[in-house]
């Protein structure tokens, strides 16, 4: 017989846990749900837009009755649970309904804190928590004129805004002298107040409520130092308290909330709790993102997978008042060791403050221009060292060359047919539809269902905005990014483990890190293959089946399943003999297109897989080798003509480019690696958008790193100036090796440097001469293993050649 699971609290955290559980183990339990409200599970966050008339109740339903039915869930709405007999394992509702359980999940949320001033029990004094409260407010707006909102925090302001839009005359009473003091510093708090005043709200700051007056229904509110104002409704938004009434009554250990461990278990091992009612490691939460994290972990344990720990969350806040842009995250007060960067333009109504500690973002407050909120939050969660771009940090991500969107309300004002994701051709309407019909909440889910932002990612910010404007704001909570869905460990943890525990095979890594799949997936297999060969160039047996087809077939797959072939042209230099050989190959194998690439060489398109070995053999015969145009490896070294011909050339840029290419070709790197050498600062070889670029100057060579053309254009940082070609080569090898040893798979040097900081790279390569030499040495050692022409090797291995042909021809 199936075990029984009972959920108390039909709200966002509880039902989310059920959804996660059904994904993992659809048949594990007979599920019963009790909810005190008469409604199905709805999106509480969106009560504010409902109050403001921007959405209707039916817009915000998350799970309709059919969902409960089709998942075999027994739903009791409008039934408050009043007791639990833990000895007999029974839940008892107000109306006498009894439900037995094997496991119990408590998700009773919070209750608004009603300040116990005289008169607080009058009719018309309410909190702002549920549909009923919204109905009461809408009703008051129809019949009355005056509203008083007590509390100038997030909820209070959203309530005040809504009531005002409904035509009421609204006064917000706040105990402190600036608004939202828990999320905003005084400066931005005052700016917020000003713009809300412009919208017509009134404020009584630093004011304490003394009494609420009226006979049966509220009529007025009186304050400490005298004044009295009329009120047809009073909304108490002075904070929330975890709803532990039931938890306490049934003897669970409670402090401020129901105390749970990292697996969301209460002190009674059969009883779990999630959501605002819990206290975890001393913290309680009042935003959904952390609750969803809890839900995931809890579901995992209910499903008996027994993995996943909840480790607490960092949260960020936005105010959902149309026309007011506000973002805040983390610590914005700081201490003696922290530094502030502040930007203020009062007439534009823009204020931004970023708090840094040891070059990492600790917190941010933004008012008026919040486009980069998500970006700062990401940098903060990832603990990114920002020293490399600190000077432009304030100006946001767009300033760093993000080719994405701009404009804070871009998403809200976009038409449905406007394209959001250029890579996958997804327009806004499709995204909104997927979000509403499939009940999506996170950027990852939207990505999986619509493919929007799944490719180059430059539209991620826009998709997040659409998500926020459709379902409310759920910035995902910080979590360490696992290498892929097959394991719980990060790239760094896996890389370190491979070296420290001498793991030299795929199997060994998967066993050590307890992979959840027998042989990984298409994301982790290529990553592991790279990490293993970078760590153990000699011991590790390369696994072609773990490589992407291009690296397996040593050519680039095309949309029609044919391949393209690019031979190396050292430093962009070719000869009539090579060109003739290329022309012959093009004729002989009926090549459809011959194209000069952006990397200064020639690409032959439309070659059938079975012809590849013959094409290679012909090119080899003319002295040419693979150009690795297909590899996460050294691609090209672009050069300009340099001192040999050019009237401005200061050094032999072509010659140095060829030397660099000869030194580095064949090496495997986390992502592709491109170089260029320009003969003078006119920089015709575009060295300053390359992973490693050299700009020759009269006195020697400027070495630049971390550049990127492509999706996010990033100009290089200057690493060092050196005097000789030998030094340039040593720095180049050392830099490539550092990146090989420490970059994450599929992370190019540009994001890598932004993650670790230019200072770190300078310390390792420039300041530490010994360290540089040993990096260079390790680079050359691994080149002794990897620098060979894969084409020649495949051509020579006659037994391998068959793999390029069909195994059989039928009919």
């Amino acid at each position: 017989m199936k075990e029984k699971l009972v959920l108390i609290g039909n709200g966002m955290a509880g039902v989310r846990t059920l959804e996660e559980l059904l994904k993992l183990a659809p048949d594990a339990y007979d599920i019963t749900v009790f909810g005190a409200e008469p409604h199905v599970n709805y999106n509480r966050i969106l009560l504010s837009p409902v109050l403001a008339g921007e959405k209707t109740i039916s817009d915000i339903v998350l799970n309709d009755r059919e969902w409960y039915a089709s998942n075999g869930i027994t739903l009791h709405t409008g039934k408050k649970v009043v007791d639990v007999n833990r000895a007999r394992r029974e839940v008892i509702a107000e109306d006498g309904t009894i439900a037995p359980y094997d496991r119990l999940l408590i998700a009773t949320g919070s209750t608004p804190f009603i300040i116990p001033v005289p008169g607080h029990e009058l009719e018309g004094v309410i909190g702002f928590r549920d549909i009923q409260d919204v109905d009461t407010m809408l009703d008051a707006a129809k019949h009355g004129r005056h509203a008083v909102v007590i509390g100038g925090g997030l909820l209070g302001l959203e309530a005040a805004n809504g009531l005002q839009i409904q035509g009421m005359d609204v006064t917000v009473v706040h105990l402190m002298d600036t608004l939202m003091e828990r999320q905003l510093d005084p400066e931005s708090g005052r700016m917020l107040q000003k713009s809300l005043e412009e919208k017509g709200l009134k404020f009584l700051m630093a004011t304490q409520t003394e009494a609420i007056l009226g006979k049966e229904h509220v009529e007025a509110v009186r304050f400490k130092d005298g004044p009295e104002i009329p009120a047809d409704i009073v909304v108490m938004a002075a904070g929330i308290r975890p709803n532990i009434e039931l938890g306490k009554k049934i003897g669970l250990h409670c402090e401020r909330g129901i105390v749970v461990n990292d697996t969301m278990q209460t002190f009674d091992p059969r009883v779990y709790a999630v959501g605002e009612c819990v206290q975890h490691r001393g913290m309680t939460y009042g935003l959904v993102a952390p609750l969803f994290e809890q839900a995931k972990v809890c579901a995992n344990h209910l499903a008996r997978y027994g993995i996943g720990r909840y480790a607490g969350s960092v949260t960020s806040t936005k105010l959902k008042v149309t026309g007011v842009d506000l973002f805040s995250a983390g610590d914005f007060v700081g201490d003696a060791d922290s530094e502030e960067i502040v930007l203020k333009d009062a007439s534009l109504g823009v204020y931004k403050k970023i708090l840094l500690k040891e070059n990492k973002i600790q917190g941010a407050v933004m008012y008026g221009d919040t486009v980069d909120g998500a970006w700062y939050f990401q940098l903060m969660r990832d603990g990114t060292d920002v020293s490399g771009f600190r000077d432009s940090l304030m100006f946001g991500q767009a300033h760093l060359g993000d080719s994405g969107h701009g404009g804070q309300n871009a998403a809200a004002t976009m038409g449905d047919e406007m394209e959001v994701c250029g890579c996958n051709g997804v327009c806004k309407g499709e995204i909104v539809k997927a979000i509403t019909t499939k009940g999506l909440f996170t950027i990852e889910e939207v990505r999986a269902h619509t493919k929007a932002s799944a490719s180059c990612g430059s539209c991620t910010g826009l998709v997040e905005q659409i998500l926020a404007s459709t379902v409310g704001d759920y910035s995902a909570t910080p979590k360490k990014k696992a290498l892929c869905g097959c394991c719980e460990y990060t790239h760094d943890e896996v890389r370190k483990g491979i070296v420290e525990h001498r793991l030299t095979s795929h199997q060994a890594v998967r066993e050590f890190f307890e992979w959840e799949t027998p042989d990984g997936c298409a994301s982790c297999r290529p990553a592991l293959n790279f990490y293993l060969l970078a760590a153990w160039p000699r011991e590790f047996q390369d696994d072609p089946q773990s490589r992407f087809i291009n690296e397996r077939a040593h050519a680039n797959i095309q949309k029609d399943g044919t391949y393209s072939v690019v031979p190396r042209m050292w430093g962009g230099i070719t000869t009539p003999h090579e060109l003739r050989a290329i022309a012959d190959v093009a004729d002989k194998y009926a090549v459809k297109t011959v194209k000069v690439t952006g990397g200064q060489r020639i690409d032959l398109f439309g070659i059938k897989k079975e012809d590849l070995p013959d094409v290679w053999a012909d090119l080899n015969a003319a002295g040419m080798v693979s150009g690795h145009a297909y590899g996460k490896s050294l691609r090209t070294v672009k050069t300009c003509v340099g001192s040999e011909w050019c009237r401005f050339g200061t050094q032999d840029s072509t010659g140095l480019g060829i030397q660099l290419e000869q030194m580095t070709w064949g090496s495997w790197t986390p992502h592709k690696f491109k170089m260029a050498v320009s003969g003078c600062p006119r920089n015709c070889a575009e060295a300053t958008i390359k992973d490693f670029g050299v700009v020759c100057v009269d006195s020697g060579y400027e070495l630049h790193v971390g550049g990127n053309g492509g999706i996010h254009v990033r100009a290089t940082d200057l690493l060092a100036r050196v005097a000789t070609e030998e030094e340039a080569k040593e720095y180049c090898g050392a830099f490539m090796q550092l990146y090989r040893e420490e970059g994450h798979y599929l992370e190019r040097t540009a994001p890598w440097i932004e993650r670790v900081g230019l200072n770190y790279v300078r310390e390792r390569i420039v300041d530490d001469g010994e360290g540089r030499k040993s990096l260079y040495q390790r680079f050359l050692e691994s080149q002794a293993v990897f620098q060979y022409d894969p084409w020649a090797k495949e051509v020579a291995a006659s037994d391998r050649r068959r793999a390029y042909f069909p195994i059989k021809q039928v009919g």
Binding site: K438, A448, H449, T517, P518, D519, G520, C521, A522, R525, P526, P544, Q545, S546, R547, F548, I549, R552, A553, I557, K559, G561, R802, A803, P806, I807, K808, Q809, V810, G811
Partner: protein, 105 residues
């Protein structure tokens, strides 16, 4: 039905890999998993026709090399949230030899 066609020896298909059978009506990918199960699918991704045989095989799935859809080898169904299906064919392995039945379902 017993129109089994002999394809070749199991050893000629790499573990966690695939080979192609050419037919008059397009290619068929013959896949071999880590634990030596053999599956056959029309070598044509339900997304935009990518050659599935060239993808990475993991578990009983293959990831299309063009845009990373995941396809169940046993059914040809795309893994949710993607939707679509590649035709599948019966296979069997006897004495180290792989056989294929062409009447797809």
């Amino acid at each position: 039905m017993s129109d089994w066609i002999e394809i070749g020896s199991l050893d000629e298909i790499p573990r966690q890999g695939a080979r192609v059978v050419k037919t008059g009506s397009g290619n068929i990918g013959i896949f071999r998993t880590l634990d030596d199960e053999v599956f056959a699918l029309r070598d044509h991704c339900p997304h935009k026709g990518g050659p599935l045989s060239q993808g990475i095989v993991h578990g009983a799935r293959v990831t299309c090399p063009l845009h990373n859809w995941n396809i169940e080898l046993a059914t040809g169904q795309a893994v949710a949230p993607d939707e679509g299906c590649a035709a599948r064919f019966e296979t069997k392995v006897e004495g180290g030899t792989v056989y294929l039945q062409l009447s797809g379902d």
